[in-house]
């Protein structure tokens, strides 16, 4: 399907769950995102159009395959589509990924599998999972909005491939990255840095 989203603008964020995903958890993500961005956030109904592909011998979902399917959905101009899953994700060349997106793309995909404390043998903590999930979604949307990785470790666009760094970087875009986001994207007071 044709991509119609305009990379530099965002009018709404749509969340689509992929695979088994508790409704309550998805709603919590919407609430969490709504606190961070000014644009409307909406939970889409599940669709059977999305199929996951398992990487051979790895029991992990192929993230790029999933991203391509999301990007192929009819996404309206100004909408950023976020696919979230509890499947552990990877791509053939990487052992795992937290999320995937293309610079300027219309969609992004985020896995909560490795953001959950229980993945590391720790007690479940839904609040921690939500905070990390929202941070990772904002990071990937940042890529959709043409932002590259940032060298500021406290910025949401800082490169992170472990949960410690996800926690360390916090929930704000830095003074260099925030001005590059479309005006009116962040919730009032969320562009503090």
């Amino acid at each position: 399907m044709e991509l119609v989203s305009e990379p530099s603008s965002v009018e709404a964020v749509h969340l689509l769950t992929v695979g088994p995903f508790p409704r309550r958890m998805a709603e919590d993500l919407i609430i969490g995102l709504s606190r961070e961005v000014r644009v409307p956030c909406r939970l889409l109904e599940e669709t059977t159009e999305i199929e996951t592909q398992i990487l051979p011998d790895r029991a992990q979902v192929h993230a790029d395959h999933l991203l391509r399917q999301l990007e192929a959905l009819p996404i309206e101009r100004g909408i950023k589509l976020v696919g979230v899953t509890l499947h552990d994700m990877a791509i053939p060349i990487f052992t795992f990924v937290f999320g995937r997106s293309r610079l300027g793309g219309p969609a992004t995909v985020v896995s909560l599998a490795r953001l959950r404390p229980e993945f590391y043998g720790l007690p479940a903590d839904p609040a921690v999972t939500m905070r990390r999930g929202v941070a990772e979604i904002l990071h990937e949307i940042g890529h959709n909005l043409e932002l590259k990785h940032c060298r500021n470790y406290s910025c949401l666009m800082f490169f992170s491939h472990d949960v410690e760094t996800v926690d360390l970087r916090g929930m704000s875009f830095c003074a260099s990255c925030a001005p590059l986001l479309p005006a009116g994207f962040l919730a009032p007071g969320r562009n503090r840095y």
Binding site: R58, D64, A90, I91, P92, I93, F94, T95, F96, V97, R102, L103, H143, K148, H149, R151, F159, H161, D162
Partner: protein
């Protein structure tokens, strides 16, 4: 801007892999991290792209159809020696990756990559490149700031010395520099070190004549904590400090018999054991020794070990005294004039013909050091913009008269030292300064000539 000068954030990466999915995924991933990225699907394409010289790092898959990653690595090194190569391998071909490391690859990474590991690896490679180029720049700056010291002299004697310095500096041979006090033995040693392959490592100077036996031993070889009373801390010896560089043993003839034995052992084995220690420490150093003494006579007299003498006397540089090369006096005087005027921010610009006449007529028993001191003094006391004969030390004028007809050089030197000592009321520091030698040398000469201070009241 060359690829070597690019900063971390501007670094350009070339991905060489025959699988398009690997190229695309890595390119996209590195692009989002702020790198410039390009990809090549074959070794041939990679060579063509690198020939344009735009890349800092190449990620090269070992297994590719046609020319494989290992062969590509060696070809890349010919095209762009500064390119940092990281090999990509599957678990099954780690042996090949190790082979690549031996051939100069920076590191290797196995498929599938841990994203964190790959990111760290690439940043480490960039930091390594950056440090390497910084090191090259610093060495160039160092060469410009502290290159080989200038040795002034166009006399046949000094030209011969300069030829010897050139010849020996490229080798690692032990050098024995001989010459009277003040002729510039340390300067020649520094020139040899500065022109040698060890120039970026330290040159450690030890004045063997200035230290008592026990202290010299500890200074040379180091000591362990508690090795002797007062050894409160472990102390690295000069040989250890000179590791990779040069140790300059000045006044080697002043070393005691006991330390000579230790010294010989260290020179032969290149291994030191700290005083009070048990552990042998391997050190890599070049030895340059210097003396103003007649070592052969000392060997004859049993004061200097013959085996140590032959160990040191591999390549000899003999520096002629200034009185044997009067044609160098004027050039040296002008050199010191320029040097000290610059250091003191004084406007002196020349030396009067009368002063040059005086300088040229003096015998300079303290050699170049005495001449240097005389010029320095003249600049300090002089009131005009030129060095005049009256600005020079009195002794320099005095020697225009015949010294002591028929006397040997040693007798002249003995008489001159004695007269200066008496004039300075045996104040060693003042006498040494007047003679243009250091205190240690003056003490040695007092001992050698058997000079004794007259009893009080004897005049």
């Amino acid at each position: 801007m060359t690829s070597a000068e690019r900063t971390t954030q501007q670094s350009a990466i070339l991905i060489v892999d025959d699988e398009p999915i690997v190229q695309q995924s890595l390119a996209e991933w590195f692009r989002s991290d702020g790198y410039e990225v390009d990809s090549a699907g074959s070794a041939k394409e990679a060579l063509r792209k690198v020939a344009e010289g735009r890349y800092d790092i190449a990620l090269v898959d070992i297994k590719m159809p046609g020319m494989d990653g290992l062969e590509l690595q060696s070809r890349l090194a010919e095209v762009e020696p500064d390119l940092t190569v990281i090999m990509i391998t599957a678990y099954a071909s780690v042996d090949s990756a190790v082979q690549a490391l031996k051939a100069g690859a920076f590191d290797y990474v196995t498929k599938p990559f841990d994203p964190d590991e790959l990111s760290h690896l690439v940043r480490r490679a960039i930091e390594h490149r950056s440090l390497r180029f910084e090191n090259i720049r610093l060495k160039e700056s160092l060469d410009a700031i502290a290159g080989a010291p200038t040795i002034i002299g166009d006399s046949p004697g000094m030209r011969h010395v300069l030829d010897l310095v050139e010849a020996v500096s490229e080798t690692d041979a032990t050098v024995l520099i001989r010459g009277d006090s003040g002729t510039g033995k340390e300067l020649v040693a520094r020139a040899i070190h500065a022109k040698s392959g060890r120039r970026y490592n330290p040159m450690v100077v030890v004045n063997c004549g200035a230290l008592a036996e026990g202290i010299l031993e500890s200074e040379l070889f180091g000591h362990e904590k508690g090795a002797f009373t007062g050894a409160q801390y472990r102390h690295k010896g000069k040989f250890e400090m000179a590791d990779g560089g040069t140790i300059f043993l000045d006044e080697i003839g002043a070393v005691s018999q006991r330390v000579q034995v230790e010294l010989l052992r260290v020179l032969e084995d290149k291994v030191v054991t700290r005083v009070g220690g048990q552990t042998p420490i391997s050190v890599d150093f070049r030895v340059i020794a210097a003396t103003n003494q007649d070592l052969e006579a000392m060997v004859e007299a049993g004061d200097f070990r013959e085996d140590l003498f032959w160990r040191l006397n591999v390549f000899t540089v003999e520096i002629p005294p200034l009185r044997e090369r009067p044609e160098d006096i004027i050039a040296l005087a002008h050199h010191f004039l320029e040097q000290y005027c610059h250091a003191m921010n004084r406007p002196h610009s020349n030396i009067t013909p009368e002063a040059l006449e005086v300088l040229g007529s003096y015998s300079w028993p303290g050699n170049v050091r005495e001449l240097e001191n005389a010029i320095e003094r003249a600049i300090v006391v002089g009131k005009e913009c030129v060095v005049r004969s009256e600005d020079l030390p009195v002794r320099v004028h005095g020697s225009t008269e015949p010294v002591v007809n028929g006397s040997s050089l040693a007798e002249v030197e003995r008489a001159h030292i004695l007269s200066v000592l008496n004039a300075m009321e045996w104040n060693i520091s003042k006498s040494a300064e007047a003679l243009g030698v250091d205190r240690g040398t003056l003490y040695n000469k007092i001992k050698r000539y058997g000079l004794q201070r007259p009893p009080d009241g004897a005049g």
